[in-house]
């Protein structure tokens, strides 16, 4: 089956939040695609991208309904189909690639069964043919061992592989339209390049029409023909990709573009470092599992880590998932005990576990987690969340605490009117600010930031970065800033440490390491970040198959 044309007219979708009145979340969406074209829906979270994409399959999530408009695929008017006909359409003529493949695969069934399920229940292929076709697709998508990978369970393959398996699942019925919902957002940059390349090639060969949902303009630039920019469920701008990138008309599009191109500072960012040593780590080794006779654990996550952070300095730690970034923060925080090595803080040795640390050491090292949603107690008001560290670490009068809480709100630039709200009543960016304010309440010397901007939209994330830089200037706090995103590290940090498979492969001032990377892996990491220009993907030389030559043994 070839791709078919897709025409969307006046699409309206409404939602009824529990206990509230129905309201419109997507209104007046119009666009048209010729067969084989790729349209990107771009916007921040909550802008209705996924909701629109799912409507192409006649589907609305619980609490939502498609209130009006039409979706025409080839000759079929999708929204007027009966329930049975809609079911026959899904997974056959229109297929879906979900954002998190890890969640979208059933953990208790073999991959092959899930990949071919759609083809079997729609009677498109018999089991034998479907398996053959699946194996062929696995090969085309550059999956390792295509013959046997289908016999595994989802937990036995990596995230990037799952995402490609999901693509095979979507393409096995030769669909007329494929919906890709942030298919590479959950992946490392280095994996993203491979997956994007595989998607693009397979889709081009088959002439598949596609709808690509993303918040990342640079990714979209590689794969889409047209772009539709969304904000709050409404179209802001629509046009060919080149036009959107070069002559954005709408202010919102321009702010998206600006956030995707963080300015690279020529000099290293505000050097408030005093040369006064705050944290020193010597030959650190962290692992899990049983220890052998030499005291080395079975699985070593981090090894031979040396670093030093001065007062008021920001050290960035980059690397892909599984490289041990978070483990480093957890070891400094005392959440995991190192099996070897020494951590010195304020010229005094830090106990490897929480038990041996003093209250003052606790106060001086604070950690800010990636997901403010999980880190903030949903039952507590913002005031209570911020009061807690004040009560724990300082003897303050009630009056003084009240003043301090308000100061903290000013510090993270949140209006004081939010003090009595619960976290669920705040936006993602506001929650992350509260999360940060809570760490600041302890007046720490060092804040461990674990991917603090990863869960946020680019525009919101850029504002948080700005705030972090400002706090550092004003309060002289030091950061251990963990990120997989090189541009955030570049804009905030003085020094950077590149982790690869638990070892430090490169360490030095940001400007040196990121501008003249010495190690292959660093080069690959930097080279894999998509650039905001069409054609970058084809020009990119990096792939997972070109492993860094000097990989540590």
């Amino acid at each position: 089956m070839q791709g078919e044309s897709l025409t969307v007219r006046d699409l309206d979708i409404r939602a009824t939040p529990p206990g509230e009145d129905e309201r419109t979340i997507v209104s007046q969406i119009n666009f048209a695609l010729k067969p084989g074209e790729v349209m990107a829906l771009i916007g921040e979270s909550g802008s209705g991208k996924t909701t629109i994409a799912l409507a192409m399959m006649g589907y609305a999530r619980r609490g939502c309904r498609i209130a009006g408009g039409s979706v025409q695929l080839g000759e079929t008017d999708i929204l007027s189909l009966s329930a049975v006909d809609t079911r026959a359409l899904r997974g056959h003529r229109v297929t879906y690639i979900a954002q998190s493949a890890a969640a979208a695969f059933n953990p208790s069934r073999r991959l092959m069964d899930q990949v071919i399920e759609g083809a079997l229940i729609h009677g498109f292929l018999d089991r034998q043919q479907a398996q053959q076709k699946a194996i062929q697709l696995f090969g085309e998508l550059a999956l390792p061992d295509p013959e046997h990978i289908g016999n595994r369970y989802p937990h036995q393959v990596s995230g990037g592989q799952l995402q490609r398996l999901m693509a095979a699942m979507a393409l096995i019925t030769d669909p007329a339209l494929v919906i890709l919902d942030e298919p590479t957002t959950a992946l490392d940059v280095t994996t993203q390049v491979d997956v994007l390349r595989a998607f693009k090639r397979v889709m081009r060969e088959r002439g598949t029409t596609a709808l690509y949902v993303s918040h990342d303009l640079a990714v979209v630039a590689q794969i889409a023909d047209h772009v539709l920019v969304l904000q709050a469920g409404e179209e802001q701008e629509q046009g060919p990709i080149a036009q959107i990138l070069e002559q954005p008309n709408h202010a919102y599009t321009r702010s998206l573009l600006a956030a995707a191109r963080p300015e690279i500072r020529s000099s290293s960012p505000v050097s408030s470092s005093t040369g006064d040593e705050l944290l020193r780590i010597d030959d650190l080794q962290v692992g899990y599992g049983h220890c052998n006779r030499r005291g080395e654990p079975e699985n070593i996550v981090l090894d031979h880590i040396q670093l030093r952070i001065d007062r008021g300095q920001a050290l960035g730690v980059i690397g892909e998932s599984g490289s041990g970034k978070s483990t480093l923060a957890r070891a400094v925080a005392g959440l995991v005990a190192p099996s070897r090595g020494e951590v010195q803080f304020n010229s005094r040795e830090l106990s490897p576990t929480l038990r041996g640390r003093t209250a003052d050491q606790f106060r001086r090292i604070q950690i800010v987690f990636q997901s403010a949603d999980n880190a903030l107690n949903p039952a507590h008001s913002v005031r209570r969340l911020l009061n807690r560290p004040l009560e724990t670490y300082f003897q303050m009068s009630r009056e003084a605490r009240k003043r301090r809480v308000e100061e903290l709100m000013d510090l993270v630039k949140l209006p004081r009117t939010l003090l009595d709200r619960k976290p669920s009543e705040l936006s993602g960016g506001q929650k992350q600010r509260v999360n940060l304010a809570r760490a600041l309440a302890a007046e720490p010397d060092l804040i461990l930031c674990d991917e603090v901007t990863s869960a946020l939209d680019t525009v919101v994330g850029a504002a948080i970065l700005e705030l972090l830089a400002e706090l550092r200037r004003e309060l002289g706090v030091a950061y251990l800033f963990i990120s997989h995103d090189i541009s955030t590290v570049r804009s905030l940090c003085d020094d950077v440490m590149v982790l690869y498979q638990g070892e430090c492969v490169e360490f030095g001032p940001c400007s040196t390491v990121l501008n003249q990377p010495q190690h292959d892996y660093t080069r690959k990491l930097i080279g894999s970040v998509p650039e905001l220009k069409p054609g970058w993907l084809e020009a990119c030389q990096w792939s997972t198959h070109t492993q860094p030559s000097t990989a540590p043994a």
Partner: protein
């Protein structure tokens, strides 16, 4: 994989046995601490101290507790459960008379209640928020809320007294045909089912809804998988763990917890045997019954754990 599975079962079995051993110690300690003295109880309040002392010696009650524990435990391991203090019959004989009745009642109740509860739970989960779900919710809530003695009494009033369809008392010895069998068991089973089904159906619904909200079920839906297949093939295998545990906890109630039902219907089961034994200070019998209940409970929990492990490839292929 086969070896690891075998090892897994073996490990579970071993840990169950250790638990049982610890429990036996607790049971023995508690029964030894029970107020009153068996010899005194048997002989009545007019016995002379010499008579009591003689009986204590005969029952072995004058020996140190640890030695008695050891003797009891080793007897237990070889199938000698001791002798009932109140009527001199071997405990194993008493248990043999009653246990099959209890197992039969438990078995029939299980066979009826588990499938019913699963169907109700699955139906409610599939029609979440709909009329069927609300009706089932109301029914199961009221079944949980109404105490079983009330259900039993009402059943007797309606079916035995008013309608005269069923006998009010369950004389197992009168069973000679299938019809009589059904008549005798109808009301006890009905009473037990009403309690168990409600618990299990609610847990099934909750566990299943958890899975139905997951991304992979949405994905199945977007592949055009029909609703029934979505529930049975996609969601249910991942809900087996919690459901099996809920079922095991409910069923464990069927041996020891049915005393009210046994009393109201005069059903000769093992729960009433234990209650009688407690009031008679019949330590050997109390201990034996407690060990049986505990063993049955451990067995059920172990089976539930195994179900959970076997249904989860992540645990299975470790």
């Amino acid at each position: 994989m086969r070896d690891s599975l075998f090892g897994l079962v073996l490990g579970r079995l071993a840990s169950s046995l250790i638990t049982l051993l610890l429990v036996s110690l607790v049971i023995f300690a508690i029964t030894s601490l029970l107020p009153g003295d068996t010899a005194q109880q048997v002989l009545g309040q007019f016995a002379t101290p010499e008579q009591v002392e003689a009986l204590r010696a005969q029952l072995g009650l004058d020996q140190p507790p640890l030695l008695r524990y050891w003797q009891w435990l080793s007897g237990f391991a070889t199938g000698d459960l001791g002798r009932s203090a109140s009527n001199g019959v071997d405990v194993i004989q008493l248990v043999n008379d009653r246990l099959p009745n209890s197992l039969l009642l438990a078995g029939i109740t299980t066979v009826i209640s588990v499938p019913l509860a699963l169907i109700m739970g699955i139906a409610a989960a599939m029609r979440r928020g709909g009329a069927l779900d609300r009706a089932l919710n109301l029914i199961t809530l009221s079944m949980v809320a109404v105490p079983e003695f009330l259900v039993a009494t009402l059943a007797v009033l309606i079916f035995a007294v008013q309608l005269g369809w069923l006998p009010a008392l369950s004389y197992v010895s009168t069973v000679d045909s299938l019809g009589a069998f059904m008549k005798v068991y109808a009301m006890p089973v009905l009473t037990l089912c009403s309690v168990l089904i409600a618990q299990m159906a609610r847990m099934t619904r909750a566990a299943l809804i958890d899975q139905l909200d997951s991304a992979y079920v949405e994905m199945a839906r977007l592949k055009g998988v029909p609703p029934m297949r979505r529930v049975l093939r996609h969601a249910l295998p991942n809900a087996v763990g919690p459901i099996a545990n809920a079922v095991a906890l409910s069923l464990s109630y069927l041996l020891g917890g049915v005393i009210i039902v046994e009393t109201i219907f005069n059903y000769p089961g093992i729960a009433s045997l234990m209650v009688d034994a407690v009031s008679n200070r019949d330590l050997a019998l109390v201990q034996a019954c407690a060990m049986i209940f505990c063993g049955a409970y451990l067995l059920l929990v172990m089976l539930a754990d195994l179900c959970a492990i076997l249904s989860n490839p992540r645990l299975r292929n470790r």
